[in-house]
Protein backbone atom coordinates (compact mmCIF):
# COMPACT_ATOMS: atom_id res chain seq x y z
CA UNK A 1 0.00 0.00 0.00
CA UNK A 2 1.17 3.49 -0.79
CA UNK A 3 1.34 6.11 1.94
CA UNK A 4 -0.70 9.30 1.75
CA UNK A 5 2.44 11.20 0.64
CA UNK A 6 3.20 8.66 -2.04
CA UNK A 7 -0.37 8.79 -3.31
CA UNK A 8 -0.27 12.54 -3.53
CA UNK A 9 2.98 12.34 -5.52
CA UNK A 10 1.35 10.19 -8.18
CA UNK A 11 -1.82 12.25 -8.15
CA UNK A 12 0.21 15.20 -9.37
CA UNK A 13 1.60 15.17 -12.84
CA UNK A 14 4.17 17.78 -13.80
CA UNK A 15 5.17 15.87 -16.98
CA UNK A 16 2.05 15.21 -19.01
CA UNK A 17 1.98 18.74 -20.43
CA UNK A 18 5.38 18.15 -22.06
CA UNK A 19 3.85 15.48 -24.30
CA UNK A 20 1.81 16.80 -27.25
CA UNK A 21 -0.11 13.58 -27.86
CA UNK A 22 -1.11 13.27 -24.21
CA UNK A 23 -2.01 16.96 -24.00
CA UNK A 24 -4.20 16.66 -27.07
CA UNK A 25 -6.01 13.66 -25.55
CA UNK A 26 -6.64 14.60 -21.95
CA UNK A 27 -8.96 11.64 -21.36
CA UNK A 28 -6.57 9.05 -22.70
CA UNK A 29 -5.02 6.62 -20.21
CA UNK A 30 -1.92 5.49 -22.07
CA UNK A 31 -0.64 2.36 -20.34
CA UNK A 32 1.41 0.80 -23.11
CA UNK A 33 4.75 2.54 -22.81
CA UNK A 34 6.55 -0.80 -22.79
CA UNK A 35 5.54 -1.11 -26.46
CA UNK A 36 6.56 2.43 -27.27
CA UNK A 37 6.76 5.53 -25.12
CA UNK A 38 5.24 8.89 -25.95
CA UNK A 39 7.64 11.61 -27.10
CA UNK A 40 8.02 14.99 -25.42
CA UNK A 41 7.80 18.14 -27.55
CA UNK A 42 11.54 18.79 -27.12
CA UNK A 43 12.31 15.59 -29.04
CA UNK A 44 9.96 16.47 -31.89
CA UNK A 45 11.35 20.01 -31.98
CA UNK A 46 14.91 18.70 -32.11
CA UNK A 47 14.13 16.46 -35.06
CA UNK A 48 12.75 19.44 -36.94
CA UNK A 49 15.60 21.67 -35.80
CA UNK A 50 18.10 19.25 -37.30
CA UNK A 51 16.47 19.29 -40.72
CA UNK A 52 15.92 23.04 -40.64
CA UNK A 53 19.36 24.13 -39.54
CA UNK A 54 21.99 21.43 -40.01
CA UNK A 55 20.69 19.05 -42.64
CA UNK A 56 23.51 17.46 -44.61
CA UNK A 57 24.84 13.96 -44.97
CA UNK A 58 27.02 13.34 -41.94
CA UNK A 59 30.58 12.04 -42.47
CA UNK A 60 30.55 12.72 -46.19
CA UNK A 61 30.76 16.43 -46.87
CA UNK A 62 33.72 18.63 -46.22
CA UNK A 63 31.55 21.70 -45.89
CA UNK A 64 30.33 23.23 -42.66
CA UNK A 65 26.79 21.78 -42.61
CA UNK A 66 28.01 18.24 -42.95
CA UNK A 67 30.54 18.81 -40.22
CA UNK A 68 27.74 20.06 -37.97
CA UNK A 69 25.65 16.99 -38.72
CA UNK A 70 28.62 14.79 -37.92
CA UNK A 71 29.17 16.73 -34.70
CA UNK A 72 25.53 16.28 -33.74
CA UNK A 73 25.85 12.53 -33.99
CA UNK A 74 29.13 12.47 -32.09
CA UNK A 75 27.62 14.52 -29.29
CA UNK A 76 24.68 12.15 -28.99
CA UNK A 77 27.10 9.21 -28.80
CA UNK A 78 28.75 10.93 -25.85
CA UNK A 79 25.42 11.64 -24.18
CA UNK A 80 24.44 7.99 -24.51
CA UNK A 81 27.79 6.82 -23.16
CA UNK A 82 27.46 9.17 -20.19
CA UNK A 83 23.88 8.00 -19.62
CA UNK A 84 25.10 4.39 -19.46
CA UNK A 85 28.10 5.15 -17.25
CA UNK A 86 30.51 4.28 -20.07
CA UNK A 87 33.18 6.81 -19.08
CA UNK A 88 36.97 6.67 -18.87
CA UNK A 89 39.05 7.19 -15.71
CA UNK A 90 38.84 10.93 -16.18
CA UNK A 91 35.05 10.69 -16.35
CA UNK A 92 34.97 11.47 -20.05
CA UNK A 93 32.17 9.67 -21.93
CA UNK A 94 33.34 7.01 -24.38
CA UNK A 95 31.11 7.80 -27.35
CA UNK A 96 33.08 5.47 -29.60
CA UNK A 97 31.60 2.52 -27.68
CA UNK A 98 28.13 3.48 -28.92
CA UNK A 99 26.93 1.96 -32.19
CA UNK A 100 23.72 3.27 -33.76
CA UNK A 101 21.25 0.76 -35.15
CA UNK A 102 17.56 1.00 -35.98
CA UNK A 103 16.32 -0.62 -32.79
CA UNK A 104 17.09 -3.18 -30.11
CA UNK A 105 16.14 -5.98 -32.48
CA UNK A 106 18.74 -4.89 -34.99
CA UNK A 107 21.36 -4.53 -32.26
CA UNK A 108 20.71 -8.09 -31.11
CA UNK A 109 20.72 -9.44 -34.66
CA UNK A 110 24.00 -7.64 -35.22
CA UNK A 111 25.52 -9.36 -32.18
CA UNK A 112 24.20 -12.81 -33.11
CA UNK A 113 25.36 -12.54 -36.71
CA UNK A 114 28.81 -11.11 -36.02
CA UNK A 115 29.92 -12.28 -32.58
CA UNK A 116 27.79 -15.43 -32.77
CA UNK A 117 28.96 -16.44 -36.19
CA UNK A 118 32.62 -15.82 -35.38
CA UNK A 119 32.86 -17.56 -31.99
CA UNK A 120 30.31 -20.41 -32.07
CA UNK A 121 31.34 -23.96 -32.95
CA UNK A 122 29.27 -27.16 -32.97
CA UNK A 123 28.58 -28.27 -29.41
CA UNK A 124 29.03 -24.80 -27.86
CA UNK A 125 26.21 -23.37 -25.76
CA UNK A 126 24.36 -20.10 -26.18
CA UNK A 127 22.46 -19.40 -22.96
CA UNK A 128 19.38 -17.20 -22.93
CA UNK A 129 16.41 -17.09 -20.56
CA UNK A 130 12.85 -18.30 -20.90
CA UNK A 131 11.62 -14.72 -20.53
CA UNK A 132 13.26 -13.37 -23.67
CA UNK A 133 11.46 -11.19 -26.15
CA UNK A 134 11.52 -12.86 -29.58
CA UNK A 135 14.15 -10.29 -30.58
CA UNK A 136 16.64 -11.84 -28.16
CA UNK A 137 15.55 -15.36 -29.01
CA UNK A 138 15.06 -15.90 -32.72
CA UNK A 139 18.48 -14.45 -33.71
CA UNK A 140 20.09 -17.01 -31.37
CA UNK A 141 17.86 -19.84 -32.56
CA UNK A 142 18.94 -19.06 -36.09
CA UNK A 143 22.63 -18.73 -35.38
CA UNK A 144 22.62 -21.93 -33.30
CA UNK A 145 21.02 -23.78 -36.19
CA UNK A 146 23.64 -22.39 -38.52
CA UNK A 147 26.68 -23.11 -36.35
CA UNK A 148 25.60 -26.31 -34.61
CA UNK A 149 25.63 -24.65 -31.18
CA UNK A 150 23.00 -25.52 -28.56
CA UNK A 151 20.41 -23.04 -27.31
CA UNK A 152 20.08 -23.40 -23.54
CA UNK A 153 17.34 -21.71 -21.48
CA UNK A 154 17.65 -20.30 -17.98
CA UNK A 155 14.31 -20.93 -16.30
CA UNK A 156 12.83 -19.04 -13.41
CA UNK A 157 11.61 -20.45 -10.12
CA UNK A 158 8.07 -20.10 -8.74
CA UNK A 159 8.96 -16.60 -7.55
CA UNK A 160 9.87 -15.53 -11.07
CA UNK A 161 13.59 -15.44 -10.23
CA UNK A 162 16.52 -16.84 -12.14
CA UNK A 163 18.52 -18.18 -9.22
CA UNK A 164 22.34 -18.44 -8.92
CA UNK A 165 21.89 -22.24 -8.79
CA UNK A 166 20.07 -22.21 -12.11
CA UNK A 167 22.76 -20.00 -13.61
CA UNK A 168 25.54 -22.26 -12.27
CA UNK A 169 23.75 -25.31 -13.69
CA UNK A 170 23.16 -23.86 -17.16
CA UNK A 171 26.18 -21.64 -17.75
CA UNK A 172 29.00 -24.15 -17.90
CA UNK A 173 32.33 -24.51 -19.69
CA UNK A 174 30.59 -25.00 -23.07
CA UNK A 175 28.88 -21.61 -22.80
CA UNK A 176 30.31 -19.10 -25.28
CA UNK A 177 27.59 -16.45 -25.24
CA UNK A 178 25.06 -15.62 -22.54
CA UNK A 179 22.33 -13.20 -23.65
CA UNK A 180 19.64 -12.26 -21.15
CA UNK A 181 17.07 -9.53 -20.78
CA UNK A 182 17.57 -7.28 -17.80
CA UNK A 183 13.84 -6.61 -17.40
CA UNK A 184 11.10 -8.88 -18.74
CA UNK A 185 8.71 -7.09 -21.09
CA UNK A 186 5.86 -9.28 -19.85
CA UNK A 187 6.41 -9.89 -16.14
CA UNK A 188 8.27 -6.66 -15.44
CA UNK A 189 10.75 -8.49 -13.21
CA UNK A 190 14.41 -7.52 -13.17
CA UNK A 191 17.03 -10.22 -13.50
CA UNK A 192 20.28 -10.18 -11.52
CA UNK A 193 22.55 -9.34 -14.44
CA UNK A 194 25.76 -8.77 -12.41
CA UNK A 195 25.43 -12.29 -10.98
CA UNK A 196 24.80 -13.84 -14.41
CA UNK A 197 27.63 -11.80 -15.98
CA UNK A 198 30.10 -12.95 -13.32
CA UNK A 199 29.30 -16.59 -14.01
CA UNK A 200 29.46 -16.04 -17.77
CA UNK A 201 32.90 -14.47 -17.49
CA UNK A 202 34.15 -17.21 -15.14
CA UNK A 203 33.23 -19.66 -17.87
CA UNK A 204 34.89 -17.53 -20.54
CA UNK A 205 31.61 -16.56 -22.21
CA UNK A 206 30.50 -13.17 -23.52
CA UNK A 207 27.68 -11.44 -21.66
CA UNK A 208 25.04 -9.70 -23.78
CA UNK A 209 22.18 -7.79 -22.18
CA UNK A 210 18.84 -6.87 -23.72
CA UNK A 211 18.20 -3.51 -22.10
CA UNK A 212 15.09 -2.60 -24.09
CA UNK A 213 12.89 -2.57 -20.97
CA UNK A 214 15.53 -1.61 -18.40
CA UNK A 215 17.38 1.38 -19.84
CA UNK A 216 14.16 3.46 -19.99
CA UNK A 217 13.24 2.80 -16.35
CA UNK A 218 16.23 2.00 -14.15
CA UNK A 219 19.63 3.66 -14.04
CA UNK A 220 21.74 1.28 -16.07
CA UNK A 221 25.48 1.41 -15.56
CA UNK A 222 27.31 -0.90 -17.92
CA UNK A 223 30.29 -1.21 -15.59
CA UNK A 224 28.12 -2.26 -12.66
CA UNK A 225 26.21 -4.68 -14.86
CA UNK A 226 29.49 -6.21 -15.96
CA UNK A 227 28.20 -6.93 -19.46
CA UNK A 228 30.14 -6.93 -22.72
CA UNK A 229 27.32 -5.71 -24.94
CA UNK A 230 24.01 -3.94 -24.27
CA UNK A 231 21.14 -3.39 -26.70
CA UNK A 232 18.18 -1.01 -26.44
CA UNK A 233 15.78 1.19 -28.43
CA UNK A 234 15.35 4.96 -28.21
CA UNK A 235 11.62 4.79 -28.88
CA UNK A 236 10.83 3.07 -25.61
CA UNK A 237 12.27 6.01 -23.66
CA UNK A 238 10.81 8.96 -25.53
CA UNK A 239 13.30 9.14 -28.37
CA UNK A 240 12.39 8.70 -32.02
CA UNK A 241 11.40 5.42 -33.64
CA UNK A 242 14.18 4.04 -35.80
CA UNK A 243 17.10 4.71 -33.46
CA UNK A 244 18.61 1.83 -31.56
CA UNK A 245 21.83 1.44 -29.66
CA UNK A 246 24.40 -1.24 -29.24
CA UNK A 247 26.89 -0.39 -26.53
CA UNK A 248 29.97 -2.59 -26.33
CA UNK A 249 33.32 -2.89 -24.62
CA UNK A 250 35.89 -1.58 -27.09
CA UNK A 251 37.90 -4.80 -27.26
CA UNK A 252 34.73 -6.81 -27.92
CA UNK A 253 33.44 -4.46 -30.64
CA UNK A 254 36.92 -4.33 -32.20
CA UNK A 255 37.08 -8.12 -32.47
CA UNK A 256 33.62 -8.45 -34.02
CA UNK A 257 33.45 -8.56 -37.82
CA UNK A 258 31.19 -6.01 -39.54
CA UNK A 259 27.47 -6.62 -39.96
CA UNK A 260 26.20 -4.66 -42.96
CA UNK A 261 28.80 -3.42 -45.41
CA UNK A 262 28.99 -0.54 -47.84
CA UNK A 263 29.43 3.19 -47.59
CA UNK A 264 30.79 4.92 -44.49
CA UNK A 265 32.06 1.77 -42.80
CA UNK A 266 35.40 1.48 -44.56
CA UNK A 267 38.81 3.07 -44.39
CA UNK A 268 39.84 2.04 -47.89
CA UNK A 269 38.59 -0.21 -50.66
CA UNK A 270 40.36 -1.85 -53.59
CA UNK A 271 38.92 -4.01 -56.37
CA UNK A 272 39.41 -7.10 -54.26
CA UNK A 273 39.45 -6.03 -50.63
CA UNK A 274 38.38 -3.50 -48.02
CA UNK A 275 39.74 -2.22 -44.75
CA UNK A 276 37.09 -1.56 -42.13
CA UNK A 277 36.72 1.78 -40.45
CA UNK A 278 37.25 1.78 -36.71
CA UNK A 279 34.35 1.15 -34.32
CA UNK A 280 31.64 2.47 -34.26
CA UNK A 281 31.61 3.36 -37.98
CA UNK A 282 32.52 -0.24 -38.80
CA UNK A 283 28.96 -1.21 -37.83
CA UNK A 284 27.18 1.72 -39.44
CA UNK A 285 26.98 1.13 -43.16
CA UNK A 286 25.08 3.71 -45.16
CA UNK A 287 23.51 7.02 -44.23
CA UNK A 288 22.44 7.04 -40.61
CA UNK A 289 19.34 8.65 -39.15
CA UNK A 290 21.26 11.69 -38.01
CA UNK A 291 18.14 13.69 -37.20
CA UNK A 292 16.87 10.80 -35.12
CA UNK A 293 20.16 10.51 -33.29
CA UNK A 294 20.16 14.24 -32.64
CA UNK A 295 16.58 14.06 -31.35
CA UNK A 296 17.51 11.15 -29.11
CA UNK A 297 20.20 13.41 -27.64
CA UNK A 298 17.46 15.91 -26.85
CA UNK A 299 15.49 13.12 -25.17
CA UNK A 300 18.44 12.28 -22.92
CA UNK A 301 18.84 15.98 -22.08
CA UNK A 302 15.16 16.07 -21.15
CA UNK A 303 15.52 13.05 -18.85
CA UNK A 304 18.61 14.62 -17.26
CA UNK A 305 16.86 17.90 -16.73
CA UNK A 306 13.90 16.22 -15.02
CA UNK A 307 16.30 14.14 -12.97
CA UNK A 308 16.39 10.49 -13.88
CA UNK A 309 16.56 9.48 -10.22
CA UNK A 310 13.32 11.27 -9.46
CA UNK A 311 11.64 9.76 -12.52
CA UNK A 312 12.75 6.32 -11.41
CA UNK A 313 11.29 6.84 -7.93
CA UNK A 314 8.00 8.02 -9.43
CA UNK A 315 7.81 5.03 -11.76
CA UNK A 316 8.37 2.70 -8.81
CA UNK A 317 5.41 4.28 -7.05
CA UNK A 318 3.23 4.00 -10.14
CA UNK A 319 4.21 0.35 -10.61
CA UNK A 320 3.35 -0.41 -7.00
CA UNK A 321 0.01 1.37 -7.27
CA UNK A 322 -0.73 -0.44 -10.52
CA UNK A 323 0.12 -3.87 -9.10
CA UNK A 324 -1.84 -3.25 -5.89
CA UNK A 325 -4.85 -1.93 -7.79
CA UNK A 326 -4.97 -4.95 -10.08
CA UNK A 327 -4.41 -7.43 -7.28
CA UNK A 328 -7.31 -5.90 -5.37
CA UNK A 329 -9.80 -6.81 -8.11
CA UNK A 330 -11.36 -10.19 -7.30
CA UNK A 331 -11.70 -11.15 -10.97
CA UNK A 332 -8.15 -10.25 -11.99
CA UNK A 333 -5.10 -12.49 -11.74
CA UNK A 334 -1.72 -10.80 -11.77
CA UNK A 335 0.76 -12.91 -13.71
CA UNK A 336 4.09 -12.34 -12.06
CA UNK A 337 5.15 -11.33 -8.59
CA UNK A 338 2.43 -10.00 -6.29
CA UNK A 339 4.90 -7.43 -4.88
CA UNK A 340 4.61 -4.13 -6.69
CA UNK A 341 8.27 -3.34 -5.90
CA UNK A 342 9.35 -6.11 -8.23
CA UNK A 343 7.69 -4.64 -11.29
CA UNK A 344 9.76 -2.41 -13.51
CA UNK A 345 7.28 -0.68 -15.81
CA UNK A 346 5.08 -3.66 -16.70
CA UNK A 347 2.42 -5.75 -15.00
CA UNK A 348 0.83 -8.70 -16.80
CA UNK A 349 -2.63 -9.88 -15.80
CA UNK A 350 -5.73 -11.66 -16.97
CA UNK A 351 -9.38 -11.11 -16.30
CA UNK A 352 -10.73 -14.48 -15.30
CA UNK A 353 -12.34 -16.34 -18.18
CA UNK A 354 -12.18 -13.38 -20.58
CA UNK A 355 -9.82 -13.38 -23.54
CA UNK A 356 -7.17 -10.62 -23.30
CA UNK A 357 -8.14 -9.30 -26.72
CA UNK A 358 -11.70 -8.69 -25.55
CA UNK A 359 -10.36 -6.99 -22.44
CA UNK A 360 -8.14 -4.70 -24.52
CA UNK A 361 -10.92 -3.86 -27.00
CA UNK A 362 -13.41 -2.95 -24.27
CA UNK A 363 -10.74 -0.92 -22.43
CA UNK A 364 -9.98 0.85 -25.70
CA UNK A 365 -13.64 1.84 -25.98
CA UNK A 366 -13.16 3.36 -22.53
CA UNK A 367 -10.06 5.30 -23.60
CA UNK A 368 -7.57 3.02 -21.88
CA UNK A 369 -4.65 1.67 -23.94
CA UNK A 370 -3.07 -1.58 -22.85
CA UNK A 371 -1.39 -4.40 -24.73
CA UNK A 372 -2.92 -7.86 -25.06
CA UNK A 373 -1.51 -10.95 -26.68
CA UNK A 374 1.71 -12.91 -26.50
CA UNK A 375 3.94 -9.82 -26.23
CA UNK A 376 6.53 -11.36 -28.58
CA UNK A 377 7.38 -13.83 -25.85
CA UNK A 378 5.55 -17.01 -26.85
CA UNK A 379 7.97 -19.44 -25.17
CA UNK A 380 7.50 -17.56 -21.88
CA UNK A 381 3.70 -17.70 -22.10
CA UNK A 382 3.84 -21.39 -22.97
CA UNK A 383 6.14 -21.96 -19.99
CA UNK A 384 3.78 -20.06 -17.70
CA UNK A 385 0.90 -22.11 -19.11
CA UNK A 386 -1.50 -19.16 -19.30
CA UNK A 387 -4.84 -19.75 -20.99
CA UNK A 388 -4.92 -18.88 -24.71
CA UNK A 389 -1.15 -18.24 -24.57
CA UNK A 390 -1.95 -14.58 -24.03
CA UNK A 391 -2.20 -12.00 -21.30
CA UNK A 392 -3.06 -8.37 -20.83
CA UNK A 393 -0.21 -6.05 -19.96
CA UNK A 394 -0.36 -2.57 -18.49
CA UNK A 395 2.87 -0.60 -18.43
CA UNK A 396 3.68 2.80 -17.02
CA UNK A 397 6.12 5.62 -17.54
CA UNK A 398 6.76 8.67 -15.37
CA UNK A 399 4.31 10.76 -17.42
CA UNK A 400 1.47 8.58 -16.16
CA UNK A 401 -0.36 9.41 -12.97
CA UNK A 402 -2.82 7.86 -10.56
CA UNK A 403 -5.82 8.78 -12.72
CA UNK A 404 -4.53 6.60 -15.59
CA UNK A 405 -4.43 3.57 -13.33
CA UNK A 406 -7.82 4.40 -11.81
CA UNK A 407 -9.21 4.60 -15.35
CA UNK A 408 -7.84 1.11 -15.98
CA UNK A 409 -9.50 -0.21 -12.84
CA UNK A 410 -12.84 1.41 -13.81
CA UNK A 411 -12.45 0.01 -17.31
CA UNK A 412 -11.85 -3.49 -15.97
CA UNK A 413 -15.05 -3.22 -13.92
CA UNK A 414 -16.83 -2.42 -17.19
CA UNK A 415 -15.21 -5.42 -18.88
CA UNK A 416 -16.51 -7.65 -16.11
CA UNK A 417 -19.94 -6.07 -16.33
CA UNK A 418 -20.15 -6.65 -20.10
CA UNK A 419 -19.47 -10.35 -19.60
CA UNK A 420 -21.22 -10.98 -16.31
CA UNK A 421 -23.76 -8.22 -15.83
CA UNK A 422 -23.92 -5.85 -12.89
CA UNK A 423 -24.02 -7.73 -9.61
Amino acid sequence: MLTQDELSTIEQNPYRGDYPLLSANPDLAFLDSAATAQRPAVVLDAQRHFYETMNANPLRGLYRLSVEATEAIAQTRDKIAAFLGAVDEAGKPCGSQVVFTRNASESLNLVARTLGRSVLKPGDDVVISIMEHHSNLIPWQQICRETGANLVYLRMDENYRITPEEVAAKVGPRAKIVSVTQVSNVLGVENDIPMIARRAHEMGAYMVVDGAQSVPHVRVNVRELGCDLLAFSAHKMGGPMGIGVLWGKPEVLDAMPPFLTGGEMIDSVTETDAVWAPVPQKFEAGTQDAAGAYAFGACLDYLDEKGFGALEVRERLLARYLTDSLAALPYVDVIGPAEGERHVGSVAFNVRGIHPHDVASILDMNNVCIRAGHHCAQPLLAYLGVENGATCRASIAFYNDKSDIDALVDGLAKVWEVFHGRD
Binding site: D358, S361, I362, N388
Partner: protein
Amino acid sequence: MDVTSLYNAEFMDHVAHPDYKYQMENPTCTHEGVNPSCGDELKFSVRLADDGTIDEAAFTGRGCAISQASADIMSDLMVGRTPEEAIHLCDLFERMVRGEVTDEAELEPLEDAEMLKDISHMPARVKCAELAWRTLKEMLEARAAADKDEKGA
Protein backbone atom coordinates in the same frame (compact mmCIF):
# COMPACT_ATOMS: atom_id res chain seq x y z
CA MET B 1 -16.87 3.71 -30.23
CA ASP B 2 -19.34 2.74 -27.54
CA VAL B 3 -18.90 -0.64 -25.88
CA THR B 4 -22.50 -1.67 -26.46
CA SER B 5 -22.33 -1.09 -30.20
CA LEU B 6 -20.52 -4.41 -30.36
CA TYR B 7 -20.51 -6.13 -26.97
CA ASN B 8 -24.30 -5.80 -26.57
CA ALA B 9 -26.76 -8.20 -24.97
CA GLU B 10 -27.50 -10.05 -28.17
CA PHE B 11 -23.81 -10.51 -28.94
CA MET B 12 -23.04 -11.59 -25.38
CA ASP B 13 -25.87 -14.11 -25.56
CA HIS B 14 -24.05 -15.84 -28.43
CA VAL B 15 -20.89 -15.88 -26.27
CA ALA B 16 -22.54 -17.17 -23.11
CA HIS B 17 -25.03 -19.56 -24.71
CA PRO B 18 -23.86 -20.62 -28.14
CA ASP B 19 -26.51 -22.82 -29.78
CA TYR B 20 -24.10 -24.34 -32.26
CA LYS B 21 -21.08 -25.08 -30.10
CA TYR B 22 -20.98 -28.84 -29.78
CA GLN B 23 -19.29 -31.87 -31.23
CA MET B 24 -21.32 -33.02 -34.26
CA GLU B 25 -21.81 -36.73 -34.83
CA ASN B 26 -21.00 -38.00 -38.31
CA PRO B 27 -20.31 -34.70 -40.03
CA THR B 28 -19.90 -34.67 -43.82
CA CYS B 29 -16.78 -32.58 -43.40
CA THR B 30 -14.78 -30.87 -40.72
CA HIS B 31 -12.12 -28.22 -41.01
CA GLU B 32 -9.87 -26.47 -38.51
CA GLY B 33 -8.96 -22.82 -38.47
CA VAL B 34 -6.47 -21.02 -36.24
CA ASN B 35 -5.30 -17.50 -35.60
CA PRO B 36 -1.78 -18.16 -34.36
CA SER B 37 -1.28 -14.63 -33.11
CA CYS B 38 -4.41 -14.75 -30.91
CA GLY B 39 -4.49 -18.39 -29.93
CA ASP B 40 -8.00 -18.66 -31.42
CA GLU B 41 -8.77 -22.23 -32.50
CA LEU B 42 -11.90 -23.39 -34.20
CA LYS B 43 -13.09 -26.71 -35.57
CA PHE B 44 -16.07 -26.34 -37.82
CA SER B 45 -18.28 -29.21 -38.99
CA VAL B 46 -21.18 -29.42 -41.40
CA ARG B 47 -23.51 -32.16 -42.50
CA LEU B 48 -24.84 -31.85 -46.03
CA ALA B 49 -28.30 -33.08 -46.98
CA ASP B 50 -28.83 -35.27 -50.03
CA ASP B 51 -29.66 -32.20 -52.10
CA GLY B 52 -26.27 -30.74 -51.13
CA THR B 53 -27.57 -28.02 -48.79
CA ILE B 54 -26.16 -27.51 -45.30
CA ASP B 55 -28.35 -29.53 -42.96
CA GLU B 56 -26.44 -28.97 -39.74
CA ALA B 57 -23.56 -26.73 -38.70
CA ALA B 58 -21.57 -26.87 -35.46
CA PHE B 59 -18.23 -25.83 -34.03
CA THR B 60 -15.89 -26.47 -31.14
CA GLY B 61 -12.85 -24.53 -30.05
CA ARG B 62 -11.69 -21.66 -27.94
CA GLY B 63 -10.82 -18.05 -28.35
CA CYS B 64 -12.00 -14.56 -27.76
CA ALA B 65 -15.64 -13.54 -27.56
CA ILE B 66 -15.60 -12.13 -31.07
CA SER B 67 -14.34 -15.33 -32.68
CA GLN B 68 -16.80 -17.43 -30.69
CA ALA B 69 -19.86 -15.24 -31.19
CA SER B 70 -19.05 -14.89 -34.86
CA ALA B 71 -18.92 -18.69 -35.25
CA ASP B 72 -22.28 -19.10 -33.54
CA ILE B 73 -23.95 -16.37 -35.60
CA MET B 74 -22.51 -17.81 -38.79
CA SER B 75 -23.69 -21.34 -38.01
CA ASP B 76 -27.24 -20.09 -37.58
CA LEU B 77 -27.08 -18.28 -40.90
CA MET B 78 -25.71 -21.24 -42.83
CA VAL B 79 -28.32 -23.90 -42.13
CA GLY B 80 -30.35 -24.54 -45.29
CA ARG B 81 -27.86 -22.87 -47.65
CA THR B 82 -26.21 -24.41 -50.66
CA PRO B 83 -22.40 -24.42 -50.57
CA GLU B 84 -22.36 -21.73 -53.27
CA GLU B 85 -24.63 -19.49 -51.22
CA ALA B 86 -22.54 -20.14 -48.14
CA ILE B 87 -19.31 -19.18 -49.90
CA HIS B 88 -20.98 -16.04 -51.21
CA LEU B 89 -22.07 -15.08 -47.68
CA CYS B 90 -18.55 -15.69 -46.36
CA ASP B 91 -17.21 -13.31 -48.99
CA LEU B 92 -19.79 -10.69 -48.15
CA PHE B 93 -19.01 -10.97 -44.43
CA GLU B 94 -15.31 -10.60 -45.10
CA ARG B 95 -15.94 -7.45 -47.12
CA MET B 96 -18.19 -6.07 -44.38
CA VAL B 97 -15.67 -6.47 -41.55
CA ARG B 98 -12.97 -4.98 -43.72
CA GLY B 99 -15.17 -1.96 -44.30
CA GLU B 100 -15.42 -2.56 -48.05
CA VAL B 101 -19.22 -2.89 -47.99
CA THR B 102 -21.22 -0.56 -45.77
CA ASP B 103 -24.52 -0.33 -47.62
CA GLU B 104 -27.30 -1.71 -45.40
CA ALA B 105 -29.27 -3.15 -48.32
CA GLU B 106 -26.24 -4.94 -49.63
CA LEU B 107 -25.54 -6.39 -46.19
CA GLU B 108 -29.07 -7.61 -45.64
CA PRO B 109 -28.39 -11.23 -46.64
CA LEU B 110 -26.04 -11.45 -43.63
CA GLU B 111 -29.06 -11.08 -41.31
CA ASP B 112 -27.90 -11.17 -37.65
CA ALA B 113 -24.26 -11.23 -38.66
CA GLU B 114 -24.65 -7.58 -39.54
CA MET B 115 -24.27 -6.89 -35.82
CA LEU B 116 -20.53 -7.44 -36.31
CA LYS B 117 -20.28 -4.54 -38.74
CA ASP B 118 -18.43 -2.34 -36.26
CA ILE B 119 -15.48 -4.71 -36.35
CA SER B 120 -14.47 -2.71 -39.41
CA HIS B 121 -13.45 0.04 -36.96
CA MET B 122 -11.31 -2.41 -34.98
CA PRO B 123 -8.66 -3.57 -37.45
CA ALA B 124 -6.89 -5.62 -34.80
CA ARG B 125 -9.99 -7.77 -34.36
CA VAL B 126 -10.91 -8.42 -37.99
CA LYS B 127 -9.04 -11.71 -37.95
CA CYS B 128 -10.99 -12.86 -34.89
CA ALA B 129 -14.33 -12.13 -36.54
CA GLU B 130 -13.30 -13.74 -39.81
CA LEU B 131 -11.96 -16.99 -38.42
CA ALA B 132 -15.18 -19.04 -38.62
CA TRP B 133 -16.11 -17.67 -42.04
CA ARG B 134 -12.67 -18.26 -43.45
CA THR B 135 -12.65 -21.79 -42.08
CA LEU B 136 -16.04 -22.62 -43.58
CA LYS B 137 -15.13 -21.13 -46.92
CA GLU B 138 -11.87 -23.06 -47.09
CA MET B 139 -13.71 -26.26 -46.27
CA LEU B 140 -16.44 -25.79 -48.86
CA GLU B 141 -14.02 -24.69 -51.56
CA ALA B 142 -11.74 -27.66 -50.93
CA ARG B 143 -14.76 -29.95 -51.15
CA ALA B 144 -15.95 -28.38 -54.38
CA ALA B 145 -12.46 -28.76 -55.87
CA ALA B 146 -12.30 -32.41 -54.79
CA ASP B 147 -15.74 -33.08 -56.33
CA LYS B 148 -14.64 -31.56 -59.58
CA ASP B 149 -11.47 -33.68 -59.61
CA GLU B 150 -13.54 -36.79 -59.02
CA LYS B 151 -15.93 -35.95 -61.81
CA GLY B 152 -13.12 -35.02 -64.10
CA ALA B 153 -11.33 -38.32 -63.46
